[in-house]
Symmetry: C2
Subunit: 213 residues, 2 copies
DNA sequence: CATTGTGAACTCATTCACAGCG
DNA sequence: CGCTGTGAATGAGTTCACAATG
């Protein structure tokens, strides 16, 4: 592997997208793929694909292309998804439940191993996937016991910051935040926000300007 | 309003985030806010806030800052969210249902006015919000009848492209796509993808590189 | 006189163009 | 010969620094 120059954030996002397309290509029976084809599928420039991969090594064969299976493996290693990750979901409302039931996540290695809420009526109940909903107050020791490394916030906005603080105190250094509230965390903790309204706002802006930015 | 130079995509995203913080500031009783404070709340650089707003006009008062209420109004106009938008949701599984029940969306003006599925067992049923689930085959005329301008894809990945095609044929030019499959649409149609696994992959990458990119 | 608005400087990201190589 | 890998060129986006001003 080569010297790690600074990798653009967007490269990581694209690697994840490449990976998904490689899965589909494999499913369709392809053994090799060129940067041009992969780029077309992912709606980017072929040079972009090669440059993105180039940050991490030389995975292709000149004159031929990339091995579909091998490249999957390489990207899994880069993204560190060549193993399972344990997640805790907080806020077992519609969204939290929907998140836990996603087929996708589990076989990609993202295991929802704990569910939390603060509503006494929910605590103790069992989710469709067989998880007993726990009191948010127990987050600390459950995280420790079950080796949870990623926290998911699917609570109402008003509870989001509090839950984030709990995660931080429990040494969970990665948070997927579905609440529309930006949460404040120390530098050691990474946050990815998924805010539906932001994405809808982008669509309305574009619609109104009749332009695909 | 000033000459429209090219507006960065990221500016639009941030405007949406500024807007959200302005709502919170208003709720907390603030009347004015400086670019410095707003920037801190949104975790960006103060110059960034001023530059972003500068693309669209002069909304502040030198020496004082921005009027919290007025700036909300200005951003709503820019994002074209100073009116309601009708949405159609396809795929009434866990995620589709969760999406429709979000408080947030409705009072921000995003109205889910139609729900579609292809499962005969679901068609005809009523959602908690009182919508009768329609057959996906009726999408075309329902879109027309109800003035739907934004389509939401919450179907399984295998159905995503087909539904996207239906939306495009029905002249829906904006799609919010929750499926992990990249959909192909003509240029006239805007797509925003919300892919949970991509965001989780970013988190695992960062965790593994022990660095907040 | 504190804070905005903005050209200029800078940093980061993408694309080009071609050398390198199976 | 075809496609990858990559330095160099271009382009986009962010931050600086300060003039403008209510």
């Amino acid at each position: 592997m080569k010297k790690t120059t600074k990798v653009p954030k967007a490269t990581i996002t694209r690697l994840s997208i490449y990976y998904r397309q490689l899965e589909l290509l494999e499913f369709d029976g392809y053994r090799m793929v060129s940067s041009e084809k992969l780029a077309w599928l992912c709606q980017v420039n072929p040079a972009q694909v090669r440059k993105d991969l180039g940050y991490f090594g030389e995975f292709g064969v000149r004159g031929v292309g990339y091995d579909v299976i091998d490249l999957q493996g390489q990207i899994k290693k880069i993204l560190a998804v060549n193993r399972d990750w344990n997640l805790a979901v907080t806020g077992i409302g519609n969204l939290g439940s929907a998140f836990m039931e996603r087929q996708n996540l589990s076989w990609r290695g993202f295991k929802c191993v704990a569910a939390f809420d603060n509503d006494p009526r929910k605590i103790g109940q069992t989710t469709p996937s067989g998880l007993k909903i726990k009191d948010i107050k127990d987050l600390d020791w459950v995280v420790d016991e079950l080796d949870i490394e990623i926290g998911v916030i699917a609570t109402p906005p008003s509870a989001a910051q509090g839950v984030a603080d709990l995660f931080v105190d429990s040494r969970v250094n990665a948070i997927l935040n579905f609440s529309p509230t930006r949460i404040q965390v120390p530098d050691c903790c990474m946050v990815e926000n998924i805010d539906f309204t932001v994405r809808l706002d982008i669509l309305t802006y574009k619609l109104n300007h009749e332009i695909g930015i």
